[in-house]
Symmetry: C2
């Protein structure tokens, strides 16, 4: 039997092998992606990102356990993809896995995969996307994609998700600096983990004012903020915002702030409920379709870029390339003229 058939029939071994092929970008891996693609699109993809030290891994662990217990709508199969673009060793991810193995050991409803860093950010995003597709096709209904930090890589990878959790924690230094505006824009649910630590109030205040700064035209309520980055169906002028009722809530997602103490399991069920609520919002508002569309489009654009460069470098001989760089270095030709020569346009 073919490996992809075995995967579709539930073989963990076949899944593991295909994941390795996808990660190594082999011919078999690329073929598997084509075969599996029609079987994807069923899972709920949850991105989890935050700075080191926020306890993301423990949170993901606890969320996985909660989804397994079937906190909302029966037990679900859970896939976890841990990505660490900054480290070539995925140090944190591997450590996290050990902890997870202890807690989730022997549960065949959970599959955990750590991803090593790849050459380019584009490569990492594409590989992650392939891993997610394979888990999705294999029947994992909840897939959590965990990334470290707040760089471009994390933002790119978060674009893969339907629901993005941004994790903060008190006492990680200057809160305003720790939370990059770019990362707040992708947050659907904000989690303050380690909420039993001193400084939790100021972390929450900082989060609220950051959200307000990012959207000065929106009124920020006591515990609600208008969704960053998602234009509501109806533009709401500031002075009428307070009088808006159910109608506005239907079309606008307000990213909630939820406190947790992950290692003690505190606040976990509430985060699961917020995720479910967000899923419902995505479905009812038509936003789910839009995000799927955007996700596939951005994956394709990335693949187009990589393919164009690959095709081009196959056309150019290394001696040609070298000669052009040489005359560039001697300033005989400008970079733009060099590019024309490289692309055979002159």
């Amino acid at each position: 039997m073919d490996l992809t058939d075995e995967l579709l029939r539930g073989s963990r071994l076949a899944l593991a092998r295909i994941l390795t092929q996808i990660e190594n970008n082999t011919q078999q891996g690329r073929q598997a992606l084509d075969v599996l693609f029609p079987h994807g699109g069923k899972a709920h993809l949850i991105g989890v990102t935050g700075a080191p030290g926020t306890g993301k891994s423990s949170l993901v662990n606890q969320l996985a356990a909660a989804f397994r217990r079937g906190q909302a709508g029966g037990p679900r199969r859970v896939g976890i993809v841990a990505v660490d673009p900054s480290s070539p060793f995925t140090g944190g991810a591997i450590l996290g896995d050990r902890v997870r193995m202890r807690d989730l050991a022997g549960d065949t409803g959970v599959f955990i995969r750590s991803m090593a860093s790849r050459g380019s950010l584009g490569g990492l995003a594409l590989a992650t996307s392939g891993i997610v597709l394979a888990l999705d096709a294999a029947g994992y209904e909840i897939i959590m994609i965990e990334t470290v930090g707040a760089g471009q890589a994390e933002v790119d990878i978060a674009r893969l998700a339907h629901t993005t959790l941004v994790v903060e924690a008190p006492g990680l230094g200057d809160d305003i600096q720790a939370i990059k505006a770019g990362i707040l824009e992708i947050a659907d649910v904000l989690v303050i983990n380690k909420a039993d630590r001193p400084g939790v109030e100021s972390t929450e205040r900082a989060l609220r004012s950051m959200l307000q700064l990012a959207h000065p035209s929106r009124r920020i309520f006591q515990d609600t903020t208008f969704k960053a980055g998602h234009r509501p169906a109806i533009e709401i002028p500031e002075n009428t915002a307070q009088s808006l009722g159910e109608a506005a809530n239907e079309s606008v997602w307000i990213p909630p702030i939820q406190r947790t103490v992950a290692i003690e399991g505190i606040g976990i069920d509430e985060v699961v409920q917020e995720i479910e609520r967000h899923r419902q919002y995505l479905e009812e508002s038509g936003e789910l379709e839009k995000r799927e569309w955007a996700r596939l489009k951005s994956e394709m654009d990335l693949l187009v870029r990589e393919t164009l460069v690959k095709q081009w470098s196959a056309r150019v001989s290394s001696s040609q390339y070298h000669a052009i760089v040489q005359s560039l270095a001697l300033r005989e030709i400008s970079p733009q003229q060099a590019v024309k020569k490289m692309l055979g346009d002159d």
Copy 2:
């Protein structure tokens, strides 16, 4: 007279106009780059990067003044390019400029340019590279490129420089986290600014151990470390490192750690001396040529990528594109099949 001729004859107005054209990536801007390219390659390019709050702008300010005073080798003309990839408003950069204008006002030997954020990281790096070329051709002998933070953008922009300063400061939270390994690898000179603050000792200790962590096979001396990222001409086994004398110093750059209190002008001359010493090392070791080569090569590669994508999108009609994305979203074709259709390869 042509604008580029005026620039080459020293007109600040012509320079300012050309910089705007380059930043907006207009046809005239691109033409100017071709004309100016043979006149470039003379300036010493200094990258200055570090987290917000480290006082980078004050440091750059003071360094500019020191180069103007001619601390080492007579007064030099100084160009400053302030890049803030994270902010669409270049808030920090604009504020920094106001302070600079007060200090450096009326000095025609100084030219300051802030760069607004551009669409893509690649676009920003290319525009910065063009700005630097124009300043170089206009006769600015020292060009400082200031970037905020430690993301991919900063690393890319730092690649433009001959000498890269990484700026730290005590009391910015967890030092180990604040200094990303990637940014340390590009450092030629480490500056601990605000060195009159408490915690300076632990910041310096953290920097040393980070350097050591990054290069466990190298012995780290009391105040010397082997250069990260630059393979020395001779590989030095750990047990013989201590017995190496002058011979090793000729081929290995040891990134020094220099304390400063920029707003009081303390330690500035020492940083200038380290920059001069690094310039000398670059010239004597042949590293300068290698860096120029790598810099132009990476600029050309980026330009090739951008051009390939631009040429491709000119070929594809928007209705074609839309139809392919549609059948992708319906999962009729896989992303890889979509790319083949997009590129007309199937």
